[in-house]
Protein backbone atom coordinates (compact mmCIF):
# COMPACT_ATOMS: atom_id res chain seq x y z
CA UNK A 1 0.00 0.00 0.00
CA UNK A 2 1.39 3.39 -0.98
CA UNK A 3 1.95 5.81 1.88
CA UNK A 4 0.54 8.60 -0.24
CA UNK A 5 -2.98 7.31 -0.49
CA UNK A 6 -5.57 9.77 0.79
CA UNK A 7 -7.38 7.19 2.90
CA UNK A 8 -5.22 4.22 3.99
CA UNK A 9 -8.18 2.37 5.49
CA UNK A 10 -11.79 3.04 4.50
CA UNK A 11 -14.81 1.49 6.17
CA UNK A 12 -18.02 1.46 4.12
CA UNK A 13 -21.08 1.05 6.34
CA UNK A 14 -23.75 -0.16 3.92
CA UNK A 15 -22.31 -1.49 0.69
CA UNK A 16 -25.02 -0.54 -1.80
CA UNK A 17 -25.17 1.80 -4.77
CA UNK A 18 -23.96 4.83 -2.78
CA UNK A 19 -21.30 3.20 -0.59
CA UNK A 20 -20.11 0.78 -3.25
CA UNK A 21 -19.76 3.42 -5.96
CA UNK A 22 -17.64 5.63 -3.70
CA UNK A 23 -15.34 2.69 -2.92
CA UNK A 24 -14.98 1.87 -6.62
CA UNK A 25 -14.27 5.50 -7.56
CA UNK A 26 -11.58 5.86 -4.89
CA UNK A 27 -10.02 2.52 -5.80
CA UNK A 28 -9.93 3.45 -9.45
CA UNK A 29 -8.14 6.70 -8.54
CA UNK A 30 -5.69 4.94 -6.23
CA UNK A 31 -6.90 7.14 -3.41
CA UNK A 32 -7.67 4.39 -0.95
CA UNK A 33 -5.69 1.57 0.69
CA UNK A 34 -7.86 -1.15 2.18
CA UNK A 35 -11.65 -1.06 1.91
CA UNK A 36 -13.69 -2.88 4.55
CA UNK A 37 -17.38 -3.37 3.87
CA UNK A 38 -19.99 -3.72 6.60
CA UNK A 39 -23.64 -4.60 6.26
CA UNK A 40 -26.36 -6.97 7.42
CA UNK A 41 -26.90 -9.15 4.38
CA UNK A 42 -24.15 -11.67 3.73
CA UNK A 43 -25.07 -12.31 0.02
CA UNK A 44 -24.71 -8.61 -0.76
CA UNK A 45 -21.36 -8.40 1.06
CA UNK A 46 -20.14 -11.52 -0.73
CA UNK A 47 -21.16 -9.92 -4.03
CA UNK A 48 -19.27 -6.73 -3.11
CA UNK A 49 -16.14 -8.79 -2.43
CA UNK A 50 -16.54 -10.65 -5.72
CA UNK A 51 -16.93 -7.38 -7.62
CA UNK A 52 -13.80 -5.92 -6.01
CA UNK A 53 -15.78 -3.18 -4.26
CA UNK A 54 -14.38 -4.19 -0.86
CA UNK A 55 -11.20 -6.03 0.07
CA UNK A 56 -12.87 -7.78 2.97
CA UNK A 57 -16.14 -7.58 4.82
CA UNK A 58 -17.65 -8.11 8.22
CA UNK A 59 -21.12 -7.94 9.70
CA UNK A 60 -19.72 -6.57 12.96
CA UNK A 61 -19.65 -2.74 13.01
CA UNK A 62 -16.93 -2.71 15.68
CA UNK A 63 -14.63 -4.87 13.57
CA UNK A 64 -15.43 -2.84 10.46
CA UNK A 65 -14.22 0.49 11.83
CA UNK A 66 -11.17 -0.83 13.71
CA UNK A 67 -8.20 1.30 12.67
CA UNK A 68 -10.26 2.91 9.85
CA UNK A 69 -9.13 6.39 8.83
CA UNK A 70 -12.44 7.26 7.23
CA UNK A 71 -15.85 5.76 7.88
CA UNK A 72 -18.53 6.35 5.22
CA UNK A 73 -22.09 5.93 6.46
CA UNK A 74 -24.28 4.77 3.56
CA UNK A 75 -27.18 3.05 5.30
CA UNK A 76 -30.77 4.43 5.28
CA UNK A 77 -31.00 7.92 6.73
CA UNK A 78 -32.85 6.95 9.92
CA UNK A 79 -30.27 4.29 10.81
CA UNK A 80 -27.17 6.49 10.59
CA UNK A 81 -27.02 7.49 14.26
CA UNK A 82 -27.58 3.89 15.35
CA UNK A 83 -24.70 2.73 13.17
CA UNK A 84 -22.47 5.37 14.76
CA UNK A 85 -23.53 4.25 18.25
CA UNK A 86 -22.74 0.65 17.38
CA UNK A 87 -19.25 1.24 16.08
CA UNK A 88 -18.20 4.18 18.23
CA UNK A 89 -16.21 2.19 20.84
CA UNK A 90 -13.85 0.90 18.14
CA UNK A 91 -13.26 4.16 16.25
CA UNK A 92 -9.69 5.37 16.62
CA UNK A 93 -8.88 8.95 17.66
CA UNK A 94 -8.49 11.25 14.68
CA UNK A 95 -10.75 9.16 12.48
CA UNK A 96 -13.27 10.88 10.23
CA UNK A 97 -16.92 9.92 9.85
CA UNK A 98 -18.85 11.21 6.86
CA UNK A 99 -22.21 10.23 5.43
CA UNK A 100 -24.35 10.24 2.29
CA UNK A 101 -27.71 10.93 3.93
CA UNK A 102 -30.21 12.91 1.87
CA UNK A 103 -31.38 14.88 4.92
CA UNK A 104 -28.85 16.83 6.97
CA UNK A 105 -30.18 18.67 10.03
CA UNK A 106 -31.81 15.58 11.50
CA UNK A 107 -28.72 13.45 10.87
CA UNK A 108 -26.36 16.06 12.31
CA UNK A 109 -28.50 16.61 15.38
CA UNK A 110 -28.58 12.90 16.09
CA UNK A 111 -24.91 12.13 15.41
CA UNK A 112 -22.90 15.11 16.69
CA UNK A 113 -23.93 14.72 20.35
CA UNK A 114 -22.69 11.10 20.31
CA UNK A 115 -19.11 11.91 19.34
CA UNK A 116 -16.04 12.63 21.46
CA UNK A 117 -13.81 15.53 20.33
CA UNK A 118 -11.30 13.08 18.90
CA UNK A 119 -13.70 11.75 16.24
CA UNK A 120 -14.55 14.13 13.40
CA UNK A 121 -17.92 14.15 11.67
CA UNK A 122 -18.29 15.79 8.23
CA UNK A 123 -21.94 15.72 7.12
CA UNK A 124 -22.34 15.26 3.39
CA UNK A 125 -24.73 14.39 0.60
CA UNK A 126 -23.65 13.38 -2.88
CA UNK A 127 -26.47 14.33 -5.29
CA UNK A 128 -26.41 11.18 -7.36
CA UNK A 129 -28.27 7.95 -7.61
CA UNK A 130 -30.18 5.63 -9.87
CA UNK A 131 -33.31 3.59 -9.27
CA UNK A 132 -31.16 0.51 -8.62
CA UNK A 133 -29.81 -0.54 -5.24
CA UNK A 134 -27.38 -3.06 -3.76
CA UNK A 135 -23.68 -3.70 -4.35
CA UNK A 136 -24.38 -4.98 -7.84
CA UNK A 137 -25.73 -1.56 -8.85
CA UNK A 138 -22.51 0.24 -7.86
CA UNK A 139 -20.23 1.71 -10.53
CA UNK A 140 -17.15 3.96 -10.27
CA UNK A 141 -18.45 6.88 -12.34
CA UNK A 142 -21.71 7.40 -10.40
CA UNK A 143 -20.43 10.65 -8.86
CA UNK A 144 -18.63 12.01 -11.87
CA UNK A 145 -19.91 15.42 -12.92
CA UNK A 146 -22.39 15.50 -10.01
CA UNK A 147 -22.58 17.87 -7.07
CA UNK A 148 -21.73 16.80 -3.56
CA UNK A 149 -23.06 19.04 -0.81
CA UNK A 150 -21.14 19.23 2.48
CA UNK A 151 -22.85 20.90 5.43
CA UNK A 152 -20.18 21.68 8.03
CA UNK A 153 -21.30 22.95 11.44
CA UNK A 154 -19.54 25.00 14.14
CA UNK A 155 -18.13 21.75 15.44
CA UNK A 156 -16.71 20.47 12.15
CA UNK A 157 -12.94 20.00 12.11
CA UNK A 158 -11.52 21.95 9.18
CA UNK A 159 -8.83 19.43 8.30
CA UNK A 160 -11.39 16.65 8.25
CA UNK A 161 -13.63 18.80 6.09
CA UNK A 162 -10.77 19.39 3.63
CA UNK A 163 -10.05 15.68 3.39
CA UNK A 164 -13.69 14.79 2.70
CA UNK A 165 -13.86 17.55 0.12
CA UNK A 166 -10.74 16.13 -1.55
CA UNK A 167 -12.27 12.64 -1.48
CA UNK A 168 -15.41 13.73 -3.35
CA UNK A 169 -13.36 15.75 -5.81
CA UNK A 170 -11.32 12.64 -6.58
CA UNK A 171 -14.60 10.73 -7.08
CA UNK A 172 -15.42 13.28 -9.77
CA UNK A 173 -17.91 15.53 -7.97
CA UNK A 174 -18.09 19.28 -7.58
CA UNK A 175 -18.18 20.01 -3.87
CA UNK A 176 -20.51 22.74 -2.61
CA UNK A 177 -20.57 23.78 1.04
CA UNK A 178 -23.66 25.27 2.63
CA UNK A 179 -25.52 25.38 5.96
CA UNK A 180 -27.58 22.29 6.78
CA UNK A 181 -30.92 24.09 6.70
CA UNK A 182 -30.22 25.41 3.23
CA UNK A 183 -29.36 21.90 2.06
CA UNK A 184 -32.57 20.55 3.54
CA UNK A 185 -34.68 23.21 1.86
CA UNK A 186 -33.01 22.74 -1.52
CA UNK A 187 -33.44 18.99 -1.39
CA UNK A 188 -37.01 19.38 -0.19
CA UNK A 189 -37.66 21.51 -3.27
CA UNK A 190 -35.87 19.59 -6.01
CA UNK A 191 -36.29 16.04 -4.76
CA UNK A 192 -38.61 15.49 -1.80
CA UNK A 193 -41.47 17.70 -3.03
CA UNK A 194 -41.51 16.11 -6.52
CA UNK A 195 -41.76 12.69 -4.88
CA UNK A 196 -44.69 13.81 -2.70
CA UNK A 197 -46.38 15.26 -5.78
CA UNK A 198 -45.86 12.07 -7.79
CA UNK A 199 -47.08 9.81 -4.98
CA UNK A 200 -50.18 12.02 -4.53
CA UNK A 201 -50.88 12.13 -8.25
CA UNK A 202 -50.82 8.38 -8.70
CA UNK A 203 -53.01 7.86 -5.63
CA UNK A 204 -55.46 10.54 -6.76
CA UNK A 205 -55.83 9.16 -10.28
CA UNK A 206 -55.79 5.53 -9.17
CA UNK A 207 -58.51 6.21 -6.59
CA UNK A 208 -60.88 7.98 -8.96
CA UNK A 209 -63.84 5.63 -8.88
CA UNK A 210 -66.37 7.25 -11.18
CA UNK A 211 -65.97 4.42 -13.70
CA UNK A 212 -65.84 0.66 -13.39
CA UNK A 213 -62.37 0.27 -14.79
CA UNK A 214 -59.28 1.83 -13.24
CA UNK A 215 -58.52 4.89 -15.35
CA UNK A 216 -54.79 4.27 -14.85
CA UNK A 217 -55.25 1.61 -17.53
CA UNK A 218 -55.47 4.42 -20.06
CA UNK A 219 -52.16 5.96 -19.06
CA UNK A 220 -49.77 6.42 -21.94
CA UNK A 221 -46.01 6.96 -22.00
CA UNK A 222 -46.17 10.51 -20.68
CA UNK A 223 -47.98 9.57 -17.48
CA UNK A 224 -45.70 6.61 -16.92
CA UNK A 225 -42.56 8.71 -17.31
CA UNK A 226 -43.93 11.45 -15.12
CA UNK A 227 -44.85 9.09 -12.30
CA UNK A 228 -41.75 6.86 -12.42
CA UNK A 229 -40.53 8.27 -9.09
CA UNK A 230 -43.76 7.09 -7.42
CA UNK A 231 -42.21 3.61 -7.72
CA UNK A 232 -39.49 4.55 -5.25
CA UNK A 233 -38.99 2.66 -2.00
CA UNK A 234 -41.82 3.50 0.48
CA UNK A 235 -39.60 2.93 3.53
CA UNK A 236 -36.93 5.31 2.30
CA UNK A 237 -39.48 7.99 1.54
CA UNK A 238 -41.29 7.56 4.83
CA UNK A 239 -37.92 8.17 6.51
CA UNK A 240 -37.20 11.25 4.42
CA UNK A 241 -40.69 12.66 5.01
CA UNK A 242 -40.21 12.14 8.75
CA UNK A 243 -36.67 13.49 9.00
CA UNK A 244 -37.02 16.51 6.69
CA UNK A 245 -40.51 17.41 7.84
CA UNK A 246 -40.26 21.17 8.28
CA UNK A 247 -38.48 21.96 5.02
CA UNK A 248 -40.76 19.58 3.16
CA UNK A 249 -43.94 21.11 4.61
CA UNK A 250 -42.68 24.57 3.66
CA UNK A 251 -42.14 23.45 0.06
CA UNK A 252 -45.48 21.63 -0.09
CA UNK A 253 -47.17 24.86 0.97
CA UNK A 254 -45.22 26.78 -1.67
CA UNK A 255 -46.46 24.28 -4.26
CA UNK A 256 -50.06 24.54 -3.02
CA UNK A 257 -50.00 28.31 -3.51
CA UNK A 258 -49.02 27.98 -7.16
CA UNK A 259 -51.37 25.08 -7.82
CA UNK A 260 -54.25 27.05 -6.29
CA UNK A 261 -53.40 30.07 -8.43
CA UNK A 262 -53.45 27.94 -11.55
CA UNK A 263 -56.73 26.33 -10.52
CA UNK A 264 -58.29 29.76 -10.01
CA UNK A 265 -57.13 30.92 -13.45
CA UNK A 266 -58.62 27.80 -15.02
CA UNK A 267 -61.90 28.31 -13.15
CA UNK A 268 -62.23 31.90 -14.35
CA UNK A 269 -60.95 30.97 -17.82
CA UNK A 270 -58.28 33.67 -17.80
CA UNK A 271 -56.42 32.71 -20.96
CA UNK A 272 -53.79 35.41 -20.64
CA UNK A 273 -52.83 34.42 -17.11
CA UNK A 274 -52.82 30.74 -18.05
CA UNK A 275 -50.50 31.41 -20.95
CA UNK A 276 -48.16 33.43 -18.72
CA UNK A 277 -48.16 30.72 -16.04
CA UNK A 278 -47.28 27.99 -18.55
CA UNK A 279 -44.74 30.16 -20.36
CA UNK A 280 -42.90 31.13 -17.18
CA UNK A 281 -42.71 27.48 -16.18
CA UNK A 282 -41.45 26.46 -19.60
CA UNK A 283 -38.76 29.14 -19.48
CA UNK A 284 -37.64 28.09 -16.00
CA UNK A 285 -37.62 24.45 -17.07
CA UNK A 286 -35.81 25.04 -20.34
CA UNK A 287 -33.08 26.96 -18.49
CA UNK A 288 -32.10 23.79 -16.59
CA UNK A 289 -32.19 21.46 -19.58
Amino acid sequence: MSENVLIPRLAIMGVGLIGGSLALALKEAGAVGEVIGCGRGRPNLEKALELGIVDRYTRDPLEAVLDADLIFLATPVKTLATVVEQCLPAIKPGAIITDGGSVKADVINSIEPLLPDSVHFVPGHPIAGTEQSGAEAAFPSLYRGKRCILTPTDKTDLQALALVEQMWTIAGSTVVKMPMDKHDRILAAISHLPHMVAYSLVNAVGSYDHYEENILEYSAGGFRDFTRIASSDPTMWRDIAETNRDALLEMMEQFEVFFAELKADIATGDGEKLFEFFLRSKQLRDAIL
Copy 2:
Protein backbone atom coordinates in the same frame (compact mmCIF):
# COMPACT_ATOMS: atom_id res chain seq x y z
CA MET B 1 -55.49 4.05 -57.56
CA SER B 2 -57.13 0.82 -56.44
CA GLU B 3 -60.90 0.94 -56.15
CA ASN B 4 -60.63 -1.03 -52.93
CA VAL B 5 -58.81 1.59 -50.91
CA LEU B 6 -60.62 2.54 -47.71
CA ILE B 7 -60.29 6.26 -48.32
CA PRO B 8 -59.92 7.27 -52.00
CA ARG B 9 -59.26 10.91 -51.15
CA LEU B 10 -58.02 12.07 -47.74
CA ALA B 11 -57.67 15.71 -46.68
CA ILE B 12 -55.29 16.37 -43.79
CA MET B 13 -56.03 19.72 -42.17
CA GLY B 14 -52.79 20.50 -40.30
CA VAL B 15 -49.86 18.42 -41.51
CA GLY B 16 -47.85 18.01 -38.33
CA LEU B 17 -46.89 15.06 -36.18
CA ILE B 18 -50.51 13.90 -35.72
CA GLY B 19 -51.88 14.52 -39.21
CA GLY B 20 -48.69 13.55 -41.00
CA SER B 21 -48.24 10.29 -39.13
CA LEU B 22 -51.81 9.20 -39.93
CA ALA B 23 -51.23 9.92 -43.63
CA LEU B 24 -47.98 7.93 -43.59
CA ALA B 25 -49.55 4.97 -41.77
CA LEU B 26 -52.49 4.80 -44.21
CA LYS B 27 -50.20 5.17 -47.21
CA GLU B 28 -47.94 2.40 -45.94
CA ALA B 29 -50.99 0.15 -45.57
CA GLY B 30 -52.33 1.03 -49.01
CA ALA B 31 -55.52 2.24 -47.37
CA VAL B 32 -55.60 5.65 -48.95
CA GLY B 33 -55.68 7.02 -52.48
CA GLU B 34 -54.70 10.66 -52.78
CA VAL B 35 -53.65 12.68 -49.76
CA ILE B 36 -54.12 16.44 -49.82
CA GLY B 37 -52.40 18.48 -47.12
CA CYS B 38 -53.69 21.83 -45.91
CA GLY B 39 -52.01 24.26 -43.55
CA ARG B 40 -50.87 27.83 -43.11
CA GLY B 41 -47.11 27.51 -43.35
CA ARG B 42 -45.77 26.88 -46.85
CA PRO B 43 -42.32 25.56 -45.73
CA ASN B 44 -43.98 22.86 -43.62
CA LEU B 45 -46.32 21.87 -46.46
CA GLU B 46 -43.39 21.77 -48.89
CA LYS B 47 -41.55 19.53 -46.44
CA ALA B 48 -44.60 17.24 -46.20
CA LEU B 49 -44.66 16.94 -49.99
CA GLU B 50 -40.93 16.20 -50.10
CA LEU B 51 -41.28 13.50 -47.42
CA GLY B 52 -44.15 11.83 -49.29
CA ILE B 53 -46.64 12.55 -46.53
CA VAL B 54 -48.99 14.32 -48.92
CA ASP B 55 -49.41 14.01 -52.69
CA ARG B 56 -50.20 17.69 -53.06
CA TYR B 57 -50.95 20.60 -50.81
CA THR B 58 -52.91 23.83 -50.68
CA ARG B 59 -53.31 26.67 -48.23
CA ASP B 60 -56.97 27.03 -49.18
CA PRO B 61 -59.29 24.94 -46.96
CA LEU B 62 -62.01 24.92 -49.62
CA GLU B 63 -59.66 23.49 -52.22
CA ALA B 64 -58.28 20.97 -49.73
CA VAL B 65 -61.58 19.28 -48.96
CA LEU B 66 -62.98 19.33 -52.50
CA ASP B 67 -64.18 15.82 -53.31
CA ALA B 68 -62.45 14.45 -50.17
CA ASP B 69 -63.98 11.28 -48.71
CA LEU B 70 -62.46 11.79 -45.30
CA ILE B 71 -61.25 15.01 -43.69
CA PHE B 72 -58.91 14.66 -40.72
CA LEU B 73 -58.74 17.72 -38.47
CA ALA B 74 -55.30 17.90 -36.87
CA THR B 75 -54.92 21.58 -36.06
CA PRO B 76 -54.84 22.94 -32.46
CA VAL B 77 -57.96 22.03 -30.49
CA LYS B 78 -59.39 25.56 -30.32
CA THR B 79 -59.15 26.02 -34.09
CA LEU B 80 -61.03 22.88 -35.12
CA ALA B 81 -64.49 24.45 -35.41
CA THR B 82 -63.07 27.37 -37.37
CA VAL B 83 -61.41 25.01 -39.82
CA VAL B 84 -64.73 23.21 -40.29
CA GLU B 85 -66.50 26.53 -40.88
CA GLN B 86 -63.89 27.51 -43.47
CA CYS B 87 -64.09 24.36 -45.54
CA LEU B 88 -67.75 23.42 -45.05
CA PRO B 89 -69.07 24.92 -48.34
CA ALA B 90 -66.79 22.61 -50.36
CA ILE B 91 -67.39 19.37 -48.45
CA LYS B 92 -69.25 16.83 -50.57
CA PRO B 93 -72.38 15.05 -49.29
CA GLY B 94 -71.51 11.79 -47.56
CA ALA B 95 -68.03 12.92 -46.59
CA ILE B 96 -66.71 12.12 -43.13
CA ILE B 97 -64.96 14.55 -40.81
CA THR B 98 -62.94 13.18 -37.91
CA ASP B 99 -60.44 14.85 -35.59
CA GLY B 100 -57.51 14.21 -33.28
CA GLY B 101 -58.36 16.80 -30.62
CA SER B 102 -57.34 15.97 -27.06
CA VAL B 103 -60.57 17.41 -25.65
CA LYS B 104 -63.91 16.09 -26.88
CA ALA B 105 -67.04 17.70 -25.38
CA ASP B 106 -65.95 21.23 -26.29
CA VAL B 107 -64.97 20.17 -29.81
CA ILE B 108 -68.19 18.22 -30.37
CA ASN B 109 -70.38 21.03 -29.06
CA SER B 110 -68.71 23.51 -31.36
CA ILE B 111 -68.63 21.36 -34.52
CA GLU B 112 -71.85 19.34 -34.54
CA PRO B 113 -74.20 22.34 -34.77
CA LEU B 114 -72.34 23.54 -37.88
CA LEU B 115 -72.93 20.44 -39.95
CA PRO B 116 -75.74 19.50 -42.36
CA ASP B 117 -77.11 15.96 -42.10
CA SER B 118 -75.16 14.95 -45.20
CA VAL B 119 -71.74 15.50 -43.57
CA HIS B 120 -70.75 12.99 -40.88
CA PHE B 121 -68.63 13.92 -37.91
CA VAL B 122 -66.84 11.19 -35.90
CA PRO B 123 -65.05 12.70 -32.88
CA GLY B 124 -61.80 10.96 -32.04
CA HIS B 125 -58.56 11.17 -30.13
CA PRO B 126 -55.53 9.00 -30.82
CA ILE B 127 -53.55 8.70 -27.56
CA ALA B 128 -50.12 9.14 -29.05
CA GLY B 129 -47.57 11.85 -29.52
CA THR B 130 -44.02 12.88 -28.93
CA GLU B 131 -42.52 16.20 -27.88
CA GLN B 132 -41.73 16.99 -31.51
CA SER B 133 -44.02 18.79 -33.91
CA GLY B 134 -44.28 19.62 -37.61
CA ALA B 135 -44.34 17.43 -40.71
CA GLU B 136 -40.72 16.44 -40.20
CA ALA B 137 -41.62 14.77 -36.88
CA ALA B 138 -44.24 12.48 -38.51
CA PHE B 139 -43.60 8.75 -38.81
CA PRO B 140 -45.87 5.88 -39.90
CA SER B 141 -45.67 3.81 -36.70
CA LEU B 142 -46.69 6.59 -34.29
CA TYR B 143 -50.10 5.02 -33.67
CA ARG B 144 -49.01 1.40 -33.60
CA GLY B 145 -49.90 -0.32 -30.33
CA LYS B 146 -51.59 2.82 -29.00
CA ARG B 147 -55.21 3.42 -28.08
CA CYS B 148 -57.49 5.60 -30.11
CA ILE B 149 -60.61 6.80 -28.33
CA LEU B 150 -63.72 7.55 -30.42
CA THR B 151 -66.57 9.41 -28.73
CA PRO B 152 -69.68 8.98 -30.88
CA THR B 153 -72.79 10.98 -29.98
CA ASP B 154 -76.49 10.47 -30.68
CA LYS B 155 -75.93 12.19 -34.00
CA THR B 156 -72.98 10.08 -35.14
CA ASP B 157 -73.59 8.08 -38.32
CA LEU B 158 -72.84 4.42 -37.63
CA GLN B 159 -71.32 3.70 -41.02
CA ALA B 160 -69.01 6.69 -40.70
CA LEU B 161 -68.07 5.51 -37.22
CA ALA B 162 -67.24 2.04 -38.57
CA LEU B 163 -65.03 3.51 -41.28
CA VAL B 164 -63.08 5.72 -38.86
CA GLU B 165 -62.69 2.75 -36.52
CA GLN B 166 -61.31 0.71 -39.41
CA MET B 167 -58.94 3.54 -40.34
CA TRP B 168 -57.37 3.66 -36.87
CA THR B 169 -57.17 -0.11 -36.72
CA ILE B 170 -55.23 -0.06 -40.00
CA ALA B 171 -52.92 2.59 -38.50
CA GLY B 172 -52.14 0.08 -35.75
CA SER B 173 -54.27 1.39 -32.89
CA THR B 174 -56.72 -0.30 -30.58
CA VAL B 175 -59.99 1.59 -30.88
CA VAL B 176 -62.01 2.22 -27.72
CA LYS B 177 -65.43 3.87 -27.83
CA MET B 178 -66.78 5.86 -24.90
CA PRO B 179 -68.97 8.89 -24.10
CA MET B 180 -67.28 12.26 -24.54
CA ASP B 181 -67.46 13.20 -20.86
CA LYS B 182 -65.72 9.98 -19.88
CA HIS B 183 -62.97 10.70 -22.39
CA ASP B 184 -62.54 14.19 -21.05
CA ARG B 185 -62.30 12.98 -17.46
CA ILE B 186 -59.82 10.23 -18.30
CA LEU B 187 -57.62 12.61 -20.25
CA ALA B 188 -57.89 15.22 -17.51
CA ALA B 189 -56.61 12.59 -15.07
CA ILE B 190 -53.81 10.95 -17.02
CA SER B 191 -52.59 13.87 -19.09
CA HIS B 192 -53.99 17.30 -18.27
CA LEU B 193 -53.64 17.05 -14.48
CA PRO B 194 -50.00 15.86 -14.66
CA HIS B 195 -49.19 18.84 -16.86
CA MET B 196 -50.84 21.26 -14.40
CA VAL B 197 -48.89 19.62 -11.58
CA ALA B 198 -45.59 19.84 -13.45
CA TYR B 199 -46.12 23.47 -14.46
CA SER B 200 -47.03 24.37 -10.85
CA LEU B 201 -44.06 22.48 -9.44
CA VAL B 202 -41.52 24.23 -11.64
CA ASN B 203 -43.04 27.64 -10.91
CA ALA B 204 -43.15 26.95 -7.16
CA VAL B 205 -39.54 25.79 -6.96
CA GLY B 206 -38.26 28.42 -9.40
CA SER B 207 -40.01 31.19 -7.46
CA TYR B 208 -38.64 30.21 -4.06
CA ASP B 209 -36.60 33.27 -3.18
CA HIS B 210 -35.19 32.49 0.24
CA TYR B 211 -31.67 32.29 -1.23
CA GLU B 212 -29.73 34.45 -3.64
CA GLU B 213 -29.25 31.79 -6.26
CA ASN B 214 -32.11 30.05 -8.04
CA ILE B 215 -32.45 26.65 -6.36
CA LEU B 216 -33.38 25.11 -9.71
CA GLU B 217 -29.64 25.22 -10.38
CA TYR B 218 -29.28 22.30 -7.99
CA SER B 219 -31.77 20.13 -9.82
CA ALA B 220 -30.41 16.73 -10.76
CA GLY B 221 -31.59 14.22 -13.34
CA GLY B 222 -34.66 13.16 -11.37
CA PHE B 223 -36.13 16.65 -11.23
CA ARG B 224 -35.37 17.26 -14.88
CA ASP B 225 -37.07 14.04 -15.96
CA PHE B 226 -40.05 14.69 -13.72
CA THR B 227 -40.58 18.19 -15.03
CA ARG B 228 -39.95 17.52 -18.73
CA ILE B 229 -43.64 18.00 -19.54
CA ALA B 230 -43.45 21.55 -18.12
CA SER B 231 -41.55 22.36 -21.34
CA SER B 232 -44.68 21.72 -23.40
CA ASP B 233 -46.18 24.39 -25.61
CA PRO B 234 -47.92 27.08 -23.46
CA THR B 235 -50.47 27.90 -26.17
CA MET B 236 -51.56 24.30 -26.55
CA TRP B 237 -51.95 23.90 -22.80
CA ARG B 238 -53.80 27.18 -22.38
CA ASP B 239 -56.26 25.86 -24.97
CA ILE B 240 -56.64 22.51 -23.24
CA ALA B 241 -57.08 24.15 -19.82
CA GLU B 242 -59.78 26.38 -21.31
CA THR B 243 -61.63 23.72 -23.29
CA ASN B 244 -61.55 20.91 -20.71
CA ARG B 245 -62.11 23.15 -17.71
CA ASP B 246 -64.71 21.23 -15.75
CA ALA B 247 -63.09 17.80 -15.95
CA LEU B 248 -59.70 19.32 -15.22
CA LEU B 249 -60.94 21.23 -12.17
CA GLU B 250 -62.55 18.04 -10.87
CA MET B 251 -59.24 16.17 -11.18
CA MET B 252 -57.24 19.03 -9.67
CA GLU B 253 -59.55 18.90 -6.65
CA GLN B 254 -59.12 15.13 -6.43
CA PHE B 255 -55.34 15.67 -6.43
CA GLU B 256 -55.58 18.37 -3.76
CA VAL B 257 -57.44 16.00 -1.44
CA PHE B 258 -54.66 13.42 -1.61
CA PHE B 259 -51.88 15.99 -1.40
CA ALA B 260 -53.51 17.53 1.67
CA GLU B 261 -53.86 14.09 3.29
CA LEU B 262 -50.17 13.42 2.71
CA LYS B 263 -49.23 16.83 4.08
CA ALA B 264 -51.28 16.19 7.22
CA ASP B 265 -49.58 12.82 7.74
CA ILE B 266 -46.17 14.45 7.37
CA ALA B 267 -47.13 17.23 9.79
CA THR B 268 -48.22 14.75 12.46
CA GLY B 269 -45.31 12.43 11.65
CA ASP B 270 -47.57 9.41 11.20
CA GLY B 271 -45.00 6.94 9.85
CA GLU B 272 -47.47 4.12 9.39
CA LYS B 273 -49.85 6.21 7.31
CA LEU B 274 -46.97 7.64 5.28
CA PHE B 275 -45.68 4.17 4.52
CA GLU B 276 -49.17 3.04 3.46
CA PHE B 277 -49.63 6.10 1.25
CA PHE B 278 -46.30 5.57 -0.53
CA LEU B 279 -46.79 1.82 -0.80
CA ARG B 280 -50.26 2.14 -2.32
CA SER B 281 -48.93 4.60 -4.86
CA LYS B 282 -45.99 2.37 -5.71
CA GLN B 283 -48.32 -0.61 -6.21
CA LEU B 284 -50.67 1.39 -8.44
CA ARG B 285 -47.69 2.72 -10.41
CA ASP B 286 -45.95 -0.62 -10.75
CA ALA B 287 -49.18 -2.15 -12.10
CA ILE B 288 -49.03 0.13 -15.15
CA LEU B 289 -45.31 -0.35 -15.88
